[in-house]
Every structure is written in structure tokens, then in C-alpha cells.
Amino acid sequence: MSADAYKMNILAIADHLLDIDGEETIESKRNLFRFYNYVKSLLPHHDVNIMLAASKTLGQIAEIGGAVFGEGFMDKEVPAAIEMLQGDKQDSPRYAGVLILKELARNSPTYFHSHIGLVFDKILIPLRDPRLIVREGAGELLAACLEIVTQRERQARSLYLSKILQDAQLGLKMSQPEIIHGSLLTYRELLLHGSMVRPFFRPFFPLS
């Protein structure tokens, strides 16, 4: 079995183990955190499929462990993932950062909420990344964030939304196709998730 196939299988097993896990004990908590760290070692990875599978598992862990890990967990994880978004190198772990943030936002919105400003500050970087997969991932991250903001945020909501909208408008005036594409992606997410008033229109894939 190749190393990559092996990793895929390990992730599949982890998914099943997480399904079984029922009662919350100190023991299971420790295991969960161990799992988390194992899975995180696969982000970044050179194989996109493995990264995607790893991020799904990570999301599952975050969902189960959200309350167990507590506030301190997000305080550490979100800035670390944001760090991955930055950096200029072509092979930067940007995609991994996007995936981690996306899963955390989807699966642990209550705790993610307080860090959402950080994400909105930096989301433009992956949204304009030259790689399509990074942009698409960032679009999904944006969708998850918008969903959180529209549900939970009262004051800062329009601030975030108008900033994102402004960036999208500016992007459409640029000449690089990847920036235009990123802006169109932003528009789509804003139209789908950005407003409270949506006549006969709801997202079809509930985010949580």
C-alpha cells in the first residue's frame, strides 16, 4: 500500500472511531486532542485529496470537541491557521489554512465567532490566490463565516459585509482573471449567505 493510500485509510478509520465515541470522559478528551494533532500533521500535505479528507476529520473532531477543548483551543488554532494564509511563496500552506478555518467555522461556530474578525481581515489573500482550488476553498470559508455573522453578529455585521463587498467591487476592476474570478466568488457567497432577507431562498446544504 502506498504511503498516501495508507494515510487515507487511517483517516477513514479515525472517522469511524469518532462516530463510535459516545461518552465524554477525561480519557476520551485526551484521545480527541491526540487525534486532532495527528490529523493536523496532514495539513499541509502534498496530496490535495488527503488534505481534504484530513480537514473533514478535523471538522468532525472540532464538532465533538468544541466544548471540551474550550476557548483556549480556538485562541491558538485560528491565529495559527491565519498564519498559514500569509506568506508569499507559491507552495505556501495556504490551502491547508483555508481548509482548517473552514472546518472550524462550520463545526464550532460558537467558539469560532469571537475570532471572525481575524478571518475577515485576511480572507482576501486566499480569495485572490492564483490556484483555483484555494479560491474555491476560500469561497466556502467565506460562506461559513457569513453564515455565522448573519446569525450571531448584530453590530459589526454590516461592517464586515461592506468591507467584503467593497473588495469584491474593486476586484472586478482589476485585469487579472484570477482576481476577477475571486471577486465573482465573493459575490456569489454574499448573494447566497450575506443577507437576512432572502425571499424563498435558503442554502441547500446547511452549514452546521
Binding site: 482573471p177 476577477i180 474570478h181 465573482l184 459575490y187 456569489r188 448573494l191
Partner: protein
């Protein structure tokens, strides 16, 4: 967004003949999103433009697949329920209104050609309603399956295929159109 909808939609549709294929595809994906967001305004101002664009897109053999990705994609039951309104709106405007001949190049409503037009319309309508959110995971799941095989095979394996996709997308039911 509500206040700027006209400008936004105009700007977005302005990219429909962009030189970049990705941007072009994205515009097609955005058409139903725009239509659903504010159906009335969309129907008033952009419907013809959008429909004409989709039809020209279908005429081009090498770019037909842009729309086809969506028409081949799956239509989920909930999605269908919501989008019936906007589809109905497309139909009534473009296919029953008297402007249809100007609006749609090559469209005939004659009885003998009815079938082909209808088929085209069906593909088109599907492409209009199904452009929806394939998230990355679903796209991956979708790519992993041999679609050409499923299309040629019998209904039995189609429904099986639907089940597979429904399962991988975490849904109970999944409806395949066209």
C-alpha cells in the same frame, strides 16, 4: 446588496464574454443565484440578456460543456422546490411571451421541431436551476464517479448512482434530471 443589486448584476453579467474561461463559467453559475436573490428585478432587467447568453453558450460546441456541467449536475429535491418559481419565471418570459423569437436565436415553437426545442429547453432549464453550490467535497465525490458510464447505463444504475451521490453528499434523496 439589495440596494446595489442592479449594478452588481450588471457588472457580473458584463463578464459573460470574458476571455478567461473560468470567469465565463463563474458568470453562468451566478445567473441563477442572481435570479433567486431578487427574482422580480432580475426578471425585469436581466432575464433576456441571461437567457440569450445561455443559449449562445449552448450553440458553441466547445463551450457547451460550461452549461453542461450544471445540466449534468444533480438537482436536489429541496433545491428544486425553491427554484420552481424562478424556472417558471424563465419559462413564461422566454418561451411563452411573444418576444421569444427575438430573445432566443434559433428557437422555433413549431410542432415538428417541438421535440428538439423542448429537449434543448430542458437541458437549459436544468442548467439554470442546478448551478447550485457544489461544495468542494461534493465535486470531488462527483469526479470520482464515472459519469459517462452512468449516462449510458440503464435507469437502474442511474438511481444507484443517485444513491451514491446522495450518500456522499449526506442527503437522503437526490434527484437526477436529464
Amino acid at each position: 446588496m439589495k440596494e446595489t443589486f442592479l449594478d452588481t448584476a450588471d457588472q457580473i453579467l458584463g463578464f459573460r464574454s470574458s476571455r478567461d474561461n473560468l470567469v465565463k463559467k463563474m458568470v453562468i453559475t451566478l445567473i441563477p443565484t442572481l435570479a433567486a436573490y431578487d427574482t422580480q428585478t432580475f426578471a425585469e432587467h436581466f432575464l433576456h440578456k441571461a437567457m440569450a447568453h445561455l443559449l449562445t453558450q449552448l450553440e458553441k460546441p466547445n463551450e457547451r460543456s460550461f452549461g453542461k456541467f450544471h445540466s449534468d449536475s444533480l438537482c436536489y429535491t429541496h433545491q428544486f422546490r425553491y427554484s420552481r418559481d424562478s424556472v417558471h419565471c424563465y419559462w413564461s418570459h422566454c418561451f411563452c411571451g411573444r418576444e421569444r423569437h427575438e430573445a432566443i436565436p434559433g428557437f422555433r415553437h413549431d410542432a415538428d421541431q417541438g421535440r428538439t426545442s423542448k429537449q434543448r429547453v430542458r437541458v437549459l432549464v436544468t442548467s439554470v436551476i442546478t448551478s447550485h453550490c457544489w461544495s468542494q467535497e461534493e465535486k470531488f465525490a462527483f469526479r470520482g464517479t464515472d459519469i459517462s458510464m452512468c449516462r449510458d447505463a440503464s435507469i437502474g444504475s442511474w438511481s444507484e448512482f443517485n444513491q451514491i451521490v446522495a450518500r456522499s453528499a449526506g442527503l437522503d434523496v437526490c434527484l437526477w434530471i436529464e
